[in-house]
Amino acid sequence: MKPTYILSAPLLFLFFFCYVPTKTMAATNIQKKTKTRLKVYYEKLPNSNKKISIILFKGSGKKMAGIKNAEIFLTTYNLEEEQVLTSLYTDANGEATLIIEANYLFPKDEHGYSIIKAMYHGADSLKAAKKQIKFMDLNIDISFDIVDSIKLITVSTFEIDSIGSKVPISGVELNIGVERLFSTLYLSKIKTKKGIGIMEFPNDIAGDSLGAINIIVKIDDDDDYGTITKSAKNNWGTIVDYSIAPNGRTLFGDEAPLWMIISVFVVLAGAWYHFILAIYKVLKIKKIEQNLLQKS
């Protein structure tokens, strides 16, 4: 009996030692809220609608994880006054999107900037977060000219001021490319001067069977203008022949070459003809017997 007591005492101690602290630690864990972060992107779509994409997440790097079903409040400033736009719920990846139609008059400040503020109020285990971005509403126009058989793409960048007239914007970096199946093939990067950028279009860009291509002009994640995409179609591409020239001696097609079919047929026909001839002769034997029986 005695040894058991001696043994159990330290065990009991060990048990408390291990158990109690973990319990209290778990309790503090719940109280300690995880930090969350918001990212807000502004993008102007080819149809001039504005797109606000929001990501709410925790952690960083590989541990980054979106927070789902969270309500994000969006506000803007109209003449120093905070104005509620709407609230959005994040999806399974912690993302939420708001589309602002092109003609909606988005409030601007005296410098021409629009402001969007996203707020997340937090939850039981999550801290609140907020993020504010500002952007300028830039417009892009694309036009095509052929001068001395050189194909030119002219891009103009401008703002529309409060009375509705165009104000050219210079020094904007533009990527110009053509749309491809998986991505845009960028051809060159230009900077506008006096609101105008000109690019010489190469002659060897593949189009479709009619030479049609879709030219894409893009401003990529600019500090002031966000991301803007604009596209226009023309038929400056080279014409691609979609018909496939078959390789004469290949055998992978559905139909076998004629000589093969003919030789198989000839060999089989020859063999089977003689086979049937032999059968015919043997069957005659039976007939002869019947004749014999009749005679006798």
């Binding site: 043997v282 005659k284 034997i285 039976k286 017997e289 014999l292």
Partner: protein
Amino acid sequence: MKAQVKANELLLENKAFIEKPNKQWFIRVFVLAVLICIGLYALVLQVIEGHLITGMRDNVVWGVYIVNFVFILGLSYAGALIAGVFHLARVEWAKPLQRILKLITVFSLIVGPIYILLCLGRPERLFNLFLYPRIQSPITWDLIAILTDLIFCVVYLYFTYIKDFALLRDNSNSLNLYGWRKKLYKFLALGYQNTPEQTKLLNQALDIMAAIIIPTSIIAYSLLAWLFGMNLKVGWHSAMTAPFFVLSAVYSGIALLIIIMWIYRKTQKLEKVFTDNHFLYLGFALVILSLFYGYFYFSQYITDWYNLQETANRLLDKYLDFSQYGFHFSIAIFLVAFLPSIIIGLPWFRSINSIVLTSVLVLAGLWVMRYLMIVPVLETPYLPMQDFRESWVHYSATWIEWSLTIAGISAFILFFIVASKFAPIIPISEMLEKKGENKLVIFYKTRRKLSKK
């Protein structure tokens, strides 16, 4: 009529072997049936658990099954080819061998294709071969060739039995047989009464069949060879493949013929029929074929030896490396290319038993050579084999494959046992036909034309 009398005598002399089976016969059948059942059990396991329980993997997709398929079909084509040639050339001494040759042909044509079914991942979809046939595929060629050959050979075998069935029908009262067998003989004999007219018709039919079976078997076996030859694999993609296959087939066919002849000679006391001369003649054929085999092999490998292409080199190294296939290769090549010359070619060791023993060794050697022609080649793709799983890199057959192999051999033997109980293993009527009696139609006609001139 003299022949007829003699035939009856010969039949009655050997009647014990076709009369009601005794206990020993049933024991033999039972043992073989057990072996076949073990194979069937393995087959069921393979169907349930999938091909993962065989040794086949993504590199060596075809293993022992295909080796058996190629080997056994080789025996079949050899049987047909040799029987056809002997028949058309009217080789008198070879007459007693005809039945064995034709039985080899048919039975191996039945057993062989089973192995290709075992190799299929989805055997139940075999009908797709008829729904969506593609003539360009060597497998389609094979399918057509095997089916044609099977039909031709079965019918040919039956034709050669007709005279003997008539003999059995006529003598059935002096034999101790079950009633159904008597009826069956009557039906199968097709009313053959040995009238000159009937004999002429039957002989013509036999000549036609022999004549079409020779090219059919050569074409069919070449097509089988092209299953490999039409493949880009180094070691297979060679113009030698088809002739080499046909040669090996004839070689293995003769070896098997000697063995079966010996077995019947021992068990059925047929010393007077399968004479020492038969063994000697076929033994010499074996020597000549072994030399041909050596010649073919040498010309293939001397060419490869001079080839410096990387993959071909890697393959050749595997045959010569004793830690890989060196032993198998050197022993097998000794057995198939040199042994017959030494044992049969030189007078000192030549005897009936040594000829038979050589045949057994040659047959085994040829099987190993087929294995070496298939497995190491599949283990030598163009890209290095960088698999961390040993079984994916090196093929080794599992008990499933071996037991199905044994089951196939057992089935082959079983067929022979049953067939030789059903009708004599020697073509009695044919054997006793007088020399020159059965003329080839075409020679007959031309001679007549010539004499008219």
